[in-house]
C-alpha cells in the first residue's frame, strides 16, 4: 500500500514547472514529487495540454519573412533523422537507488542521473547529507535522518523544500510520508524529527543557508555549513 501523498506543490508551482520558468533546483524538487504523486502526474498532464493549446491558439502575424523560414526548413529537412536503432524504449522510468547507513533506498527518476554523481555522505550524529552536483548557488542534497533523531530547531534565510523519499518525518505542523513536499519560507521555524522506529530519506533544496536558533544549538551554527 503506497502512502497517499498529502502535501503537494500547488497549482501555481506546477504551472511554472510546466512552463519551465522555475529555477532548476526548485523544479527538480517538483519533478521528483511528481514522480511520486499520481495526483500531480494528472495535473502535470493537464497543465501541459492546456499550455500547449495556448501556444497553438495564439495569432501570429504574417510577417514578410518567407525567405528566412524557407532557409530554416531546408536546413532541417536535410539533416539525418535518428536511426530507428537508437530509439530505445523510453517509456519505463529508470529505477535508481542510494545506499546510506547500510540501507538501500529507491529514489525517483528525476534524481537518478544526479545521484550517480552525488558527493560522498557526510555524517553527523544521526544525520547524513550528500550533495547532488548542481550549479553553484544551488544547494540540492539528499538528507538521511536515522530513527529517533531530531534536527536542531532552525529557520531559513530563504526557501527550504524537503521532499520525503522514504520513511517518515514529523515537525510541529504535521507528519510527512513518501511523496510529501514541505515548503518552508523564511518565517517558518521548525524542528523536524524522525519517529523512534523509522528513519527517513529526503531530498532537500535550500535557496539560502539555514540558521539554527535555539540556545546551545546556536553554538552549532557552523552546522549550517554541513547542511548547506
Amino acid at each position: 500500500m503506497t502512502h497517499a501523498v498529502k502535501f503537494h506543490p500547488g497549482l501555481m508551482l506546477l504551472e511554472q514547472y510546466v512552463e519551465g520558468t522555475l529555477s532548476a533546483d526548485v523544479a527538480l524538487a517538483v519533478s521528483a514529487h511528481i514522480d511520486l504523486c499520481p495526483h500531480c502526474q494528472q495535473l502535470n498532464n493537464d497543465i501541459t495540454n492546456d499550455q500547449a493549446a495556448v501556444l497553438t491558439e495564439q495569432q501570429v502575424s504574417g510577417r514578410n519573412d518567407e525567405q528566412e523560414w524557407n532557409q530554416m526548413l531546408d536546413f532541417i529537412t536535410n539533416q539525418p533523422v535518428l536511426a530507428a536503432s537508437v530509439i530505445t524504449d523510453t517509456k519505463a522510468a529508470p529505477v535508481a537507488s542510494v545506499t546510506v547507513n547500510g540501507k538501500t533506498f529507491q529514489i525517483p527518476r528525476a534524481l537518478a542521473r544526479l545521484a550517480e554523481n552525488q558527493n560522498k555522505w557526510l555524517h553527523l550524529g544521526g544525520i547524513a547529507t550528500a550533495k547532488l552536483p548542481t550549479a553553484e548557488k544551488q544547494h540540492v542534497s539528499l538528507l538521511y535522518i536515522d530513527k529517533g533523531t531530531e534536527v536542531p530547531n532552525h529557520t531559513h534565510l530563504g526557501l527550504e523544500m524537503t521532499l520525503v523519499l522514504a520513511g517518515r518525518i514529523v515537525d510541529e505542523n504535521g507528519e510527512y510520508g513518501v511523496g510529501d513536499l514541505l515548503i518552508n519560507s523564511p518565517e517558518d521555524t521548525h524542528t523536524p524529527r524522525t519517529l523512534a522506529d523509522e528513519d527517513c530519506l529526503c531530498l532537500s533544496v535550500l535557496s539560502a543557508p539555514l540558521k539554527f536558533k535555539k540556545g546551545l544549538t546556536r553554538l552549532l551554527n557552523p552546522l549550517q555549513q554541513f547542511f548547506y
Partner: protein
C-alpha cells in the same frame, strides 16, 4: 460573463443529478481520433515525408517564435530555439506516440526543454540539472481514476458562479460550453479547434481551481 441567473436557467430542464453525471464524467474512453498534425507527424516518422513536415513547420514555427520572444525577450534567441526545437521534431518524429497525447503538446514540450537547456548552458556547467532530469518523456503507471472527476453536485450550485470569473479565460470558455451550453466534449473540441484531450484537461483544471476556491470560502 457567467452569472448566477444564467446558471439557474437550466435548472428545470433535466433532473440535476442526471444532467451533471452526463456532463461531468471525464472518462478515458480511449478515443484515438487523430487530427491533421498527428497524421503529419506520423508521415514524417514513417517516410521522412518532407511535404508533411513542411506543413507542420509552417504552422508551428511562427508560433514557437512568438512563444520564444515572450520567454527570451529577444528575436535572436527565439529563432535559435525554434530551429533547435523544429530540428528535434524532424529528427525524433519516431518517438512521437499519438496514443499518448497530441502533436501540439509534444512539440510544446520539446520547445520548452530546448529553451530550458539553452538558458542553463549559458551558465555552462556540465553536471548540472538538465531538461531530461526535470521532464519525464514517458508514461507513469496507469492510475485508477480517482474521485476528483466525480465531485459534481457542488458544481451547479450557485455558490460556484462567482468563481467562474476567476478562471483563466481558456478554461472558463470550455466550462461555459460544457456546463451552460450543454455541449459534448467532442463538440467543444470541434468548435474551439483544440484537441479533445485538451478539453478534458481544461475541465479538470477548472474543477480543481473551483474546488480550491470553494474550500477557501468555507474555511
Amino acid at each position: 460573463m457567467l452569472e448566477t441567473t444564467v446558471l439557474k436557467r437550466h435548472h428545470d430542464a433535466l433532473p440535476k443529478q442526471k444532467r451533471i453525471s452526463q456532463r461531468m464524467t471525464i472518462n478515458s474512453e480511449n478515443e484515438t481520433r487523430t487530427g491533421q498534425w498527428e497524421d503529419a507527424l506520423t508521415l514524417v516518422a514513417l517516410n521522412q515525408d518532407k511535404a508533411a513536415y513542411a506543413e507542420l513547420f509552417r504552422y508551428f514555427a511562427p508560433r514557437l517564435r512568438a512563444f520564444g520572444i515572450k520567454m527570451f525577450g529577444n528575436e535572436q534567441q527565439a529563432m535559435e530555439m525554434v530551429q533547435d526545437a523544429m530540428l528535434n521534431v524532424w529528427r525524433k518524429a519516431r518517438l512521437f506516440d499519438a496514443s499518448r497525447g497530441c502533436a501540439s503538446t509534444w512539440i510544446f514540450t520539446i520547445a520548452r526543454n530546448v529553451r530550458f537547456d539553452m538558458l542553463r548552458k549559458k551558465q555552462s556547467r556540465k553536471d548540472d540539472i538538465s531538461a531530461d532530469d526535470l521532464w519525464f518523456d514517458g508514461d507513469y503507471p496507469e492510475q485508477e481514476s480517482n474521485s476528483s472527476d466525480h465531485w459534481d453536485t457542488m458544481l451547479m450550485s450557485e455558490k460556484l458562479a462567482p468563481h467562474f470569473d476567476a478562471l483563466p479565460p481558456a478554461q472558463r470558455m470550455v466550462m461555459q460550453k460544457v456546463y451552460l451550453e450543454e455541449k459534448s466534449h467532442q463538440e467543444v473540441s470541434d468548435e474551439l479547434a483544440i484537441p479533445l484531450g485538451t478539453v478534458k484537461s481544461r475541465i479538470r483544471l477548472a474543477l480543481d481551481r473551483l474546488r480550491g476556491a470553494l474550500d477557501d470560502t468555507r474555511s
